[in-house]
């Protein structure tokens, strides 16, 4: 049923019905905002640098002696989205006898919850500051060790945050 009484048009005042004064009001508001400092940035030339508390894509911590991960599979177990696959192998060379032969995160599945980081007994997987994650195919969305391993120096801020608040 069509409403024919007390419509928006009927509620307009005389000045509003004149139309032009309202246009002018709008223009004034625009001019005022133009003078204010800008809230946006020219991404991707200008990038935003998140704080340590930011949960970007999960990465593996790499130390000089190799990755920290011991392939315990706890992250894979806890991951609610089943994004992680770990396969362990044995090494005689390092003093940690176990390392991930294969470590893959399917970034189409990952929901950035950070559970993997929380459960890891070795602080080997942490949430990075990476947020622009793009790929052109489903296969490319599966990140292997080559894309996941990140030097520990670049993760200092997050590790510091975890030490304080975890």
């Amino acid at each position: 049923m069509n409403v024919t009484t007390n419509t928006a048009a009927q509620r307009l005042t005389f000045w509003e019905k004149l139309y032009l004064p309202e246009i002018v009001k709008g223009l004034v508001s625009t001019l005022k905002t133009m003078a204010k400092p800008s809230m946006t940035r020219r991404y991707p030339e200008e990038r935003w640098e998140p704080l340590g508390s930011y949960r970007g894509r999960p990465v593996l911590v790499q130390e000089e002696s190799g990755e920290r991960c011991v392939a315990c599979g706890l992250c894979s177990r806890v991951c609610p989205a089943l994004a992680i696959e770990v396969r362990a192998a044995e090494t005689m060379e390092r003093d940690k006898e176990r390392y991930p032969d294969l470590f893959e995160i399917n970034m189409l599945r990952c929901i950035y919850c950070g559970f993997c980081e929380e459960v890891c007994p070795e602080e080997a997987i942490v949430m990075s500051k990476d947020y622009d994650i793009v790929f052109h195919s489903q296969e490319a969305a599966i990140f292997g060790k080559d894309q996941l391993l990140t030097p520990v120096a670049r993760l200092q801020e997050r590790l510091e945050f975890l030490r304080q608040y975890k």
């Binding site: 315990c72 089943l82 007994p121 296969e139």
Partner: protein
């Protein structure tokens, strides 16, 4: 029979039993590490400490009761170990009072003093008795803030077993197993106190054919399998019940699968067949051939070589070929690893459809494999079952003769490789006009057969084996094939269950291989007879109806009695208590 009271509940037990045994028979488990029903009592872990007492007697000799009529109990001044204290009539046992709980917590704290924080890299994690008890019987606090003792972490005791000194809690189960069951007393504690560890005597190694059982009974992850080490976490695997096809003993096993690949086999307790054990050979060999080198799909050989065909086309090709020969020119060979269901259906095909009585199984005897414990010389897992279905066996060296003497023109082999490098058999098979093969693996036969159909192994089939003592045992599929995909559902490992098409970890081979009874039924149908079997169970029900010895059996009955003996299905043996030391506890 003596009556004892445990936490207020009266139970009856055989005289001479220990408290822990009497409890177990009545469904009460007292925490323990070193006790094992198949081993002697060592009494060294002290985890089973309980409060033991008896009712106070008045000077006149009557039992005293308090004002409310409850018995007045005189507790022994010290706690007793339930695994070594025999019961006596009128005994009172308390497992839940403060004194016992404090003792349990203290024992846990004591054991954990030098225990490394290895759970993340320990193969036992997830099914570890120490983890379970730490959760159940420990307050989770340690007052020890010194540096933990360090010991050797990777010592190979033999070809199959790796020892980690730090994880060992010195329960001595492995030492007792080596001495009492494996009859190879080469293990011993060395050093004392917190430096105690286990070594093999100089110049010896622990290489008994049953050595890997210590891995299962070790309550912690101190003993790991060199064959399995680190392949997967236990919670990522599915474990389905099966029967080892390695020899005619038919040890009950569990098949551990991840990504649709078998990663390990482990024994499943069956007090009548294999107790808690299985042999190393079964454990390390009976999964490899299931994982690799398989035939998937059906193939028909033409001038262009092997051409992939669908199963029905292959059945029709076999049927067409068979029709060209007189019925007694057709020979059928069944493999010793085929289930009763498979063999029964093949026999039906031979006798009712093809009308040939040239149906044989090839004996596989290996006297070197036999021993006085589990392993048998008869390597055909189902030889007694096949015999019970009325199928004659021939020796491998009689195959070539059989073919030439009986003027065989067409040969159908299901689930066996008959050539095995034998020149005489090879030339006999080559002289045939038609050779069809249903097989698990690529082999010499697949190079020459006219029709090849990929068939399901024991790990992909449901069926029954009849073992050397005529015990019929039921096994279920553990890995997914195109054929059983629908029924496998929740039996798959977690990863396989929830994977999607684009997940790399679900890409494990889902092979196109069919159970042999289905292949036999397919060929029969192509020849114009429909058997109408829907699943293995319907074949088994038919066996029960038509083959004497199997009457009164069913899959359910086989499952609940862990197998039934031929002709004695109505009088199942008593199983007693089936003890599970420690297994994967879901959730």
């Amino acid at each position: 029979m003596p009556v004892i009271t445990i936490d207020g509940v009266k139970i009856e037990a055989q005289p001479g039993k220990t408290i822990i045994e009497a409890c177990l028979e009545n469904g009460i488990t007292i925490p323990h590490f070193c006790w094992h029903p198949s081993l002697s009592v060592a009494g060294n872990c002290r985890m089973c400490l309980v409060n033991v007492g008896s009712q106070k007697k008045s000077p006149e000799g009557t039992l005293e009761v308090d004002g409310e009529g409850n018995p007045v109990i005189m507790w022994m001044p010290k706690l007793q170990i339930a695994c070594a204290t025999p019961i006596s009539d009128g005994m009172f046992v308390s497992t839940k009072d403060d004194k016992t709980l404090t003792a349990q917590n203290s024992v846990m704290e004591f054991i954990l003093i030098n225990h490394p924080l290895d759970c993340p890299i320990c193969d036992e994690a997830g099914q570890c008795k120490l983890q379970e008890y730490a959760y159940k019987f420990s307050k989770g606090e340690s007052r020890f803030d010194d540096i933990k003792n360090h010991k050797d972490k990777r010592v190979a005791w033999g070809p199959q077993v790796m020892f980690d000194g730090e994880r060992c809690i010195s329960c001595s189960r492995c030492i007792r197993f080596a001495t009492e069951i494996a009859n190879q007393p080469v293990l011993s504690f060395v050093q004392r106190g917190d430096h105690v560890t286990i070594e093999t005597f100089e110049g010896t190694q622990f290489d008994s054919p049953y050595s890997m059982n210590v891995i299962d009974i070790c309550p912690v992850g101190a003993l790991t399998s060199i064959d399995f080490r680190f392949k997967a976490r236990v919670w990522d695997m599915s474990f389905n019940d099966s029967v080892c096809p390695g020899c005619s003993r038919g040890c009950n096993i569990k098949v551990g699968v991840r990504d649709n690949e078998i990663l390990r086999l482990e024994p499943r307790a069956n007090p009548i067949v294999n107790k808690y054990w299985m042999c190393d050979a079964g454990r390390t060999t009976q999964y490899k051939w299931v994982n690799a080198n398989r035939v998937s799909g059906s193939y028909i050989r033409s001038d262009k070589g092997l051409v992939l065909a669908d199963a029905d086309t292959a059945y029709t090709a076999i049927a067409k070929a068979i029709k060209q020969y007189k019925s007694d020119e057709v020979m059928i060979v069944v493999g010793g690893m085929l289930s009763n269901e498979d063999v029964y259906t093949v026999k039906k095909l031979a006798s009712e459809v093809i009308h040939t009585n040239r149906l044989v199984v090839v004996e596989r005897t290996d006297t070197g494999f036999a021993d006085s414990f589990l392993r048998t010389a008869d390597r055909n897992a189902n030889s007694h079952g096949i015999a019970s279905l009325g199928i004659t066996s021939i020796k491998p060296n009689e195959i070539a003769d059989y073919i030439s003497k009986n003027h065989i023109k067409a040969l159908l082999v299901l689930g066996d490789e008959i050539i095995r490098g034998d020149e005489a058999i090879l030339s006999a098979v080559k002289s045939l006009s038609f050779f069809a093969l249903a097989t698990f693996n690529e082999c010499q036969s697949t190079e020459i057969a006219n029709v090849i159909i990929g068939s399901a192994t024991y790990a992909e089939s449901e069926g029954t084996y009849t073992n050397i003592t005529d015990r019929v045992q039921h096994f279920t599929p553990a890995i997914v094939t195109k054929e059983n995909m629908r029924i496998m559902g929740m039996k798959m490992s977690r990863l396989d269950k929830f994977g999607a098409q684009n997940d790399r970890w679900t890409q494990g081979d889902k092979r196109d291989c069919k159970q042999h009874w289905r292949i036999a039924q397919g060929i029969a149908e192509a020849l114009g007879t429909n058997f109408g079997y829907k699943n293995s169970e319907s074949v088994f029900d038919d066996i029960v109806k038509h083959v004497t010895g199997y009457n009164h059996m069913s899959y359910d009955a086989l499952d609940s009695h862990l197998g039934l003996t031929l002709n004695h299905a109505q009088h199942p043996e008593s199983l007693g208590v089936i003890y599970e030391s420690h297994t994967l506890k879901p959730n």
